[in-house]
């Protein structure tokens, strides 16, 4: 199971083979059982941070959608051009320079 056998030696300072529960001293949980008073501004801060992240994520999504549209338009153009040249229709885009093979 998960024990210390695989861990590198730590120069002695942490090496205690067997430490029983009683040797660990009394927990100080009773001193730690508290909360820090936090006002409404804490929640406002959390809200603002979440809104900022969501806006950033939306902006990223939009830019990805735009990029996707550009790539898709380009692919459409290439496919259209290939399809047209395969069908011998004069070769896709009317602006495409005619090669020797076309004539």
């Amino acid at each position: 199971m998960n024990d210390d056998n695989d861990r590198p030696p730590s120069n002695g300072i942490d090496d205690f083979d067997e430490i029983g529960e009683d040797d660990l001293g009394t927990p100080i949980s009773e001193l730690f059982d508290f909360e820090i008073e936090t006002g409404d501004e804490f929640l406002t801060g959390v809200r603002r941070r979440i809104e900022r992240r969501e806006m950033a994520a939306t902006a990223l999504d939009l830019s990805l959608v735009n990029a996707g549209q550009v790539i898709w338009s380009y692919l459409e153009m290439v496919l259209e051009s290939l399809f047209a040249s395969k069908n011998g229709a004069g070769g896709g885009s009317p602006n495409r320079p005619r090669s020797r093979k076309d004539s």
Partner: protein, 203 residues
């Protein structure tokens, strides 16, 4: 009255609020905010203890809840919400400490630390004349402890993590974890009593 959204009862248990927050309509963060209100005091106190920094505690605690918000849909409820938030908080605070120091905070093997583990003690702090409440005193004393003792001590005695969980989080052995907790308790008590005595003298 908000008729669009279903009712959120602030007295509902965490599990109910978590489900409501997960299924909330866009723009309805009431259930999540109720959870934040319920746990913010403890999370902030814990962030302060873990980081040893009062000024960073609010930032850290807010970020913990932001992370919680965006991860909420993946929370399957196999542990309690509080335990799950504790895990997020521990990871976030440990990362903060690592970044702050520019290296791993687990530097108990560092020769300097071995020679003088109390290097970070600000002795002048013990002469402050102001009267402090117990909570402030606890935090103040905690902040004088080195990270290597303060972090496992906080995880154990404040958050109730098991020794194995602490060992796993810190990437150290089980016996090393126990030793640090033992030393942390001893050192904390010693400094706490010293500080109390100093304050009593002033008064």
């Amino acid at each position: 009255m908000n008729r669009r959204f279903p009712k959120v009862d602030p007295n509902d248990p965490d599990e109910v609020l978590v489900e409501q927050a997960k299924n909330a309509m866009p723009g309805d963060s009431r259930a999540f905010e109720t959870l934040v209100r319920r746990h913010k005091g403890h999370v902030k106190a814990n962030c302060r203890s873990l980081s040893g920094s009062e000024s960073d505690a609010e930032d850290l605690a807010q970020e913990v809840f932001v992370k919680t918000y965006f991860a909420l849909r993946r929370f399957e409820g196999r542990s309690k919400f509080k335990t799950w938030v504790q895990r997020i908080k521990i990871n976030h605070c440990l990362n903060f400490l690592r970044k702050k120091k520019g290296k791993s905070f687990l530097d108990i093997d560092d020769p300097v630390m071995q020679a003088e583990p109390d290097l970070r003690v600000d002795e002048s702090a013990t002469t402050a004349a102001e009267a402090l409440g117990t909570q402030d005193l606890v935090q103040e004393v905690l902040e004088t402890l080195p990270d290597t003792l303060r972090v496992p001590l906080t995880m154990c005695d404040m958050d109730g993590h098991s020794y194995q969980e602490i060992a796993d989080s810190l990437g150290i052995g089980l016996s090393a974890t126990k030793m640090r907790i033992k030393r942390g308790r001893e050192e904390f008590r010693r400094r706490f009593e010293e500080r109390e005595a100093a304050l009593a003298e002033v008064e």
